[in-house]
Symmetry: D2
Subunit: 116 residues, 4 copies
């Protein structure tokens, strides 16, 4: 059975190709798009406290889902364009983070690794 992310990525790529948009999808523009969509996601929580952000109402969750999807769609495009295996990259980064944030030192603190 095909992997879910592989399957959905194919649909996302097909959407792009049916519109002949690959010509616009250089990594610089795609990274801008990720930044812009992240800003729209963040706007959903602007002026809210951290606690309030934990209990979004139905309308807000709906909006968040759309923005999260937009970020992900452009991540898929960027990885396709640069031939990056997104999940392998996550796995690699997780290994790095395990070294940067050893369990004993990092437990229960939000400090950056440079301050641990």
């Amino acid at each position: 059975m095909e992997d879910r992310l592989t399957a959905i990525s194919k649909k996302v790529i097909r959407f792009r190709d049916e519109r002949d948009w690959k010509q616009f999808h250089d990594p610089k523009n795609l990274s801008e798009a990720i930044c812009i969509e992240s800003g729209e996601l963040l706007e959903k929580f602007l002026w809210k406290t951290s606690d309030q952000s934990r209990i979004p109402d139905k309308v807000l969750v709906h909006g968040i889902r759309e923005e999260v999807a937009d970020v992900m769609i452009f991540l898929i495009y960027l990885c396709d364009t640069l031939n990056i295996d997104l999940l392998a990259a996550v796995e690699n980064k997780l290994k790095l983070n395990q070294e940067k944030y050893p369990k004993e030192k990092a437990r229960g603190t939000s400090k950056k690794y440079t301050e641990l």
Copy 2:
């Protein structure tokens, strides 16, 4: 066989829980983190032309992979915290985009749907 994204998400969540970090992971902070990491991703292409960004050298690709992974890791955390199925959200958004950007109108143009 388990889905790849499901499997890697479990590892990402375990990393968080072993450090007792869930307490910091409210949606407001996680969206900030996505924004910040997106900015670091974009920095990889700053001062480059769009064409230059298409042919990153080995060192640059390495850095891009790390930033792409960081954005994805925080997306996974946010979706876990808010109980969002990331790939279902992408599938939904893709359907919306198909209405906003009909093939005939959107082909070969980078215009926003509001200007089509």
Copy 3:
């Protein structure tokens, strides 16, 4: 006596020209730089609560001052490149905001004008 912003802007521009950097300073790249520096500013408050962010210690204030300056420097460059009078633009926007957020309706609420 010369206006303070005019005077400092001249220094900022001279810094650029002494390095022959105007060639890199197109509006696309400058807007990217503003985004990237804003992300670095935001990082100073990541994982903090809103209340904690109100009482930054000396080291943090020092860092915030640097990031705020970076955002401002790129704003100055962008306005120079596009021939925008930054303070006139602020004055115009303030007038628009007065219409979008009438005192009676907007008092004491953080709602967006579209929801007032």
Copy 4:
């Protein structure tokens, strides 16, 4: 005669106080707002080449002016809240940058100071 930035800042602050918005204006939220507005500014140049961004048409310049103003307004609020003298911060940062980017080394290159 009063300095222009001082004068406009007073108007910006009065706008806030007439709406009793200071309660929402902690540094964490204000930095989020700067990030979000920077993203909206960047969106004006998305899918454009660097060269195209140099020659915005009238409508685009109008939009850019509004976004630039939004970033500046929130910078003013942040500096007011944290008691930061924005222009003094710029002057300080410029001195630091002069050390990080000595003229001889930095001339004509867009390399980061860590690579000079």
